[in-house]
Symmetry: C2
Subunit: 418 residues, 2 copies
Amino acid sequence: MARLVLKFGGTSVADIDRIRNVAEHVKREVVAGNEVAVILSAMAGKTNELVEWCSQAAALHDAREYDSVVASGEIVTVGLLAIMLQSMGVNARSWQGWQIPIRTDGNHGAARIKDIDGSRLVERLQAGQVAVVAGFQGIGPDNRVTTLGRGGSDTSAVAVAAAVNADRCDIYTDVDGVYTSDPRIVEHAHRLDKISYEEMLEMASLGAKVLQTRSVELAMVRRVPVLVRSSFDDPHAPQPALDGPFGGPGTLVCDEDEIVEQHIVSGIAYSKDEAKITLRRVADKPGVAATVFGPLAAANINVDMIVQNVSEDGSTTDLTFTVPVADFERAEKVIEEARDKIGYADMAGSTGVVKVSVIGIGMRSHAGVAAQMFSALAERGINIQLISTSEIKISVLIDAAYTELAVRTLHSVYGLDR
Amino acid sequence: MARLVLKFGGTSVADIDRIRNVAEHVKREVVAGNEVAVILSAMAGKTNELVEWCSQAAALHDAREYDSVVASGEIVTVGLLAIMLQSMGVNARSWQGWQIPIRTDGNHGAARIKDIDGSRLVERLQAGQVAVVAGFQGIGPDNRVTTLGRGGSDTSAVAVAAAVNADRCDIYTDVDGVYTSDPRIVEHAHRLDKISYEEMLEMASLGAKVLQTRSVELAMVRRVPVLVRSSFDDPHAPQPALDGPFGGPGTLVCDEDEIVEQHIVSGIAYSKDEAKITLRRVADKPGVAATVFGPLAAANINVDMIVQNVSEDGSTTDLTFTVPVADFERAEKVIEEARDKIGYADMAGSTGVVKVSVIGIGMRSHAGVAAQMFSALAERGINIQLISTSEIKISVLIDAAYTELAVRTLHSVYGLDR
């Protein structure tokens, strides 16, 4: 017996038949003797419809009203699932954010969960009642409805799991787990049975959009094991054990200590959402970086990779950095406006680039991972434009035309092909 | 300057354009210097869709879950109107039932409002903020969402008006007021400028479906003047004074003391929702009525008119009563099952009947109203099957084929033709 939190997204509750499928998954876990809380999104498309209505009502709208409107979609799905579970003989009730309550800060539209009082939920769970909780929503300091931002239901699920001290949080999604790379371009990519929080964080923020980054951060901090699995699985099929010989029903995101067979590299990720800006002959003196990145930060533009070369003549240097593609033109304008202050000879930008990353917790204790990457790419004639590294990740910026070649090559080089 | 509550139904908020029209009405009242609270229904059709989903989820469903789901439609419209008002420069915010709170009993699906704390609303109204309140919903003793039953938004509006001590409650609807009779069958029917609560109650319960009966009862008890007017009026047109020479913009439902020019009869109503059941040779002894109407009440069948003739032979009598058409067959079955207990010779029922009513507060002080009715109908050869009277109403049950003739005749006889 375990205490489980199950989360289902919009496509999993898109209509009555899909909700019935969700109910079958829930019932299976209840029949198996588990205590179950369920977190749901709104029906697929419903939140977009509500957002569109808000935009039609006024181009600029009060975020508090927006939140109240768009959070209504989850109220519908949780009520319907509770009704359906009851009709299947499963004791269940729905919970809106304010009823628990799920307390957030007042940052409407992208609120952060401050505190969840899990006591009432635990009481009901122990009494054998399934708690069906509206995801994506909470209640702010002024008693008004808040939303956590798109994809916030993953975060709701992990936060509720932490609040009720759940043994595991199962995220049902439209893929059956986390892969070593994108199966659409790497034929030999395979599902990982387990991945560490740290690796998953790098994967998520690099565009492997299985889990919302914030939910992974929260799971890591609160040590909630998260199982990513498919909602399209037959709910009546026998459930493989998580540590079974044929692999579990998905990918378990967990503490690295729980991963017995560690690979040096767990996955190869890539992100096409990159644009590169180079400033030539910037004055090589203290404080110049602040004159460049200060205005970008003020414009809310997220700078990712930054490389500053060693000065050749001792007085000027070249500075290169990347920004999201959507912010590219705006970033160029911001830099242009700050030109006098920064002082540079000229600016060059391009968008035809991709960031390819090698991710693995094993890197910490293994030297030579980076060298292997650089030589493998060099052998294929792929030029590296920028390099950035973290403890468990090496990222390179390359010409976008080489994306597939680079990802496939690295997947093979690090022994991930199966 | 006045404090006003405005209520708009589902067709008035059916889409963004219609909501914009509502916003124009609201803005006009604000610009005129009034304090304004607005009560809204869900978009037309939305509540039905939610009800349908609940039915698809399970034939029998938990009323608490049902309430939570169907109350979500109002959350959307109040948020959208608040956004739109703000974009028009009108300070506004939305209120869900639990935020005010609107406290109800725990009778889910048909809850009654127990108490509305108007203090926070009044504070905001005085500060010049429009309160946009979700109609139809409240919060029960256990902190769960309740609904007031279909048409409950009228009741929400009157209850909020009473709670904030409003000067008037304006119900915007798809007709422009209360008529002396149904204009579809009486060509010379005309709109009343004013009508008393008591008369309106009789009108409403007799099938003139302009206002929900409960909302009129509440308005009468709390002495809230209610103005019934059309939401299709041009919101930018000059507003006629309520007591102006050309009549107000609708019909004011108010205390009879405020109606200067009282007519003896204010209107002629009819109801086709009647079925008649006659029991012949029922024992004429104390307690027999209870043996008939007890089982009907237990079966939740609403009996309307009841006539018991004086016994001819001193031992048996005939008993006739009416029930709603929808309950006719069920009522016959209930009586059949209680036959031994009641003891009657035979039962006869028919559905081709209509109840026609003459309503007027002036009847109290004028004799001869009933006599005039009976002779007018007799002159037209219309046979009266049953008669029932109240202080301000005389109803007769007649053959349905004579509906139009009877209503037109009485409309003319009592001087209502214009």
